[in-house]
């Protein structure tokens, strides 16, 4: 009779850090694409509200990139060697190499697009009347974008702290780097058409990061881990990455800018749509994958059995359904006047806050439940 050989399972090779990395890469790629979409619309429609969502989308992606890759590096045996990417990552047939370069391109894009939208006196979507003028100082008039015009002797740092909104600039001001960042952004920022063209190029890298976030799992030899079937895993990772990217942009905009207007509400509804689409992709995986690839049956059984609490309770209920309910409640509660702006802001932010651990739990489930397809020997 044939013998099945059982090896150490994928979790034994990769563990929780790779799950966090994959989840945060999905967020990074999705957030950039969502942000660039908003940026593009804001530019075409001259809508500063959308510009604000773009700015916080870029910030979400930046935060994910600041945390995710170092978590992966800490998993490696030689993190410093791995960090020398141009010298070490040379096999372009490997998805890890492709992913490393995609992350590099997306990181550059996220940093510059965030810097150009968040800093500088000439930054886009700032009140046109204030463009080119130093930002706010004590006693100045409040500007429509939250800044105040600067008075004689007032420093940008002091002004930023005085801003009623724009929490990021406040933080930069408190750290004492706001003036430097503003000057740097103004000196390097290209014209808007060129900025958008560059943003489009960086969006290709961000899309690559999003795809890599799935292929990091699914890139092995065909059938080695049946649960990571690319046909089923790619939609889950792409949809969820876009969903949490958009969701965190909405949450941060509501929290830091205090803006819960129509544009933000529409983006919250788009987040709901993407997360529900993610749910459908996950349901398709557990219902259809075992019939398409029988070897995946054990992995799906693990998801619904041994790891049901993490999968159903954590990834689906906490990570998808609760944020969806919070976002819908915030949007329709505010539109119908049943929810105060403060309560709506809290709902948007809490939804965004729990989307991220939900995505991490989903990635963990895919790792924990995965089993190598047993090696069949003809003995």
């Amino acid at each position: 009779m044939p013998f099945d050989i059982l090896f150490t399972e994928p979790w034994g090779d990769w563990g929780w850090k790779v799950g966090v990395y994959v989840a945060l890469l999905g967020l990074a790629g999705g957030a950039y694409i969502a942000a660039f979409g908003a940026d593009l619309l804001a530019w075409r429609k001259d809508n500063p509200r959308l510009g604000s969502i773009a700015k916080y989308g870029y910030l979400s992606g930046l935060l994910a990139l600041i945390v995710g890759p170092p978590v992966l590096l800490s998993h490696l045996a030689t993190p410093f060697r791995a960090a020398l990417i141009p010298l070490t990552m040379t096999n372009f047939g490997s998805w890890m190499t492709i992913g490393a370069y995609m992350i590099g391109g997306a990181a550059v894009g996220t940093i510059v697009m965030f810097g150009w939208t968040a800093f500088g006196t000439e930054r886009p979507y700032r009140d046109p009347e204030l463009k080119g003028r130093p930002i706010a100082a004590d006693g100045g008039d409040a500007a429509t974008d939250g800044g105040r015009e600067i008075a004689d002797g007032g420093s940008p740092e002091a002004a930023a702290i005085d801003e009623p909104a724009g929490g990021l600039r406040v933080v930069a001001g408190k750290v004492g780097v706001l003036g430097l960042l503003d000057r740097l952004a103004d000196v390097t920022r290209p014209s808007e058409p060129i900025r958008m063209a560059l943003g489009g190029v960086f969006a290709i890298f961000a899309a690559g990061v999003l795809v890599y976030s799935a292929m990091a799992f699914g890139s092995g030899p065909e059938g080695r881990v049946a649960l990571w079937n690319e046909t089923f895993l790619l939609p889950v990772q792409i949809l969820s990455g876009l969903g949490i990217g958009l969701g965190t942009a909405v949450g941060l905009t509501a929290l830091l800018d205090g803006d819960t207007g129509r544009a933000l509400q529409n983006y919250a509804l788009a987040t709901v749509g993407l997360m529900l689409a993610t749910l459908l992709a996950v349901i398709a995986t557990v219902t259809l994958l075992p019939s398409v690839e029988p070897a995946a049956e054990a992995g799906v059984a693990n998801m619904l059995g041994e790891y049901a609490l993490l999968f159903v309770g954590g990834a689906i209920v906490v990570g998808i359904l609760v944020p969806v309910v919070l976002l819908l409640a915030a949007v329709f509660g505010e539109r119908r006047g049943a929810l105060s702006p403060t309560a709506a802001r809290a709902s948007y932010f809490i939804a965004a806050f729990i989307l991220v651990p939900g995505q991490i739990m989903l990635a963990w489930v895919y790792l924990l439940a995965a089993e190598y397809t047993p090696l069949i020997l003809p003995v």
Binding site: L6, T78, T88, A100, V379
Partner: protein
């Protein structure tokens, strides 16, 4: 005994029917190369776990012709030598475990033992500190005209060593058991699979 022939690299293959689960191969490998205790270049793995047919059999790197580990290694730390065998460069490996996830035979190991850097940089030296380690087919022994230690010390000749042509002859004998499924044989022998292991 051959180290290499025109028809391909010499490999160690299991002859499952002869194995008596004694573990002598593991001991021979550990002792010959003075390996750390958690380094298992040949590993006795459990088959049909939890059933009446549960057995333990040795597995190691088969220096596959279509080596999945080489395909997925991001840093080209895994590479084919001119003779067709697969080696790992200690100075390029980053310990990402991609090869471990890709290898269908569970060959890559990642021992945590402290190993001197000079040893790790030696192409045939042992690896530790989380870097990838695997069977080297006892290349230094082959250069001395000796079989790999595991095959040499196996009391029942359950480990067969030879080039594809020699293995084909050995597997054609009545008592030999075909070591792989057709799919696995294609990974190990590539286009030679049907010559070495006729259906």
């Amino acid at each position: 005994m051959s180290t290499q022939d025109a028809d391909g690299p010499a490999r160690i293959l299991p002859n499952w029917g002869s194995c008596i689960d004694c573990g002598a191969c593991e001991v021979a490998c550990q002792r010959t190369w003075d390996l750390p205790t958690d380094t298992q270049r040949i590993q006795v793995v459990r088959m049909n776990e939890g059933t009446d047919d549960e057995q333990n059999k040795p597995m190691q790197c088969y220096n596959c012709t279509d080596a999945p580990c080489v395909d997925v290694c991001p840093t080209d730390a895994l590479f084919f030598r001119d003779d067709g065998t697969v080696r790992v460069s200690g100075d390029l490996c980053i310990g990402c475990h991609y090869c471990g996830v890709a290898c269908p035979f569970g060959a890559p190991q990642y021992p945590d033992a402290e190993v001197p850097e000079a040893e790790e940089m030696d192409p045939l030296g042992m690896r530790g500190n989380g870097l990838m380690d695997k069977c080297t087919s006892c290349e230094p022994r082959q250069e001395e005209g000796l079989e790999p230690a595991c095959a040499s010390e196996c009391p029942t000749d359950a480990l067969v060593f030879g080039t594809p042509g020699e293995l084909s002859e050995r597997l054609a004998q009545d008592d030999a058991v075909k070591p792989f499924s057709d799919e696995s044989a294609r990974v190990v022998f590539g286009d030679q699979a049907e010559e070495v292991m006729p259906e």
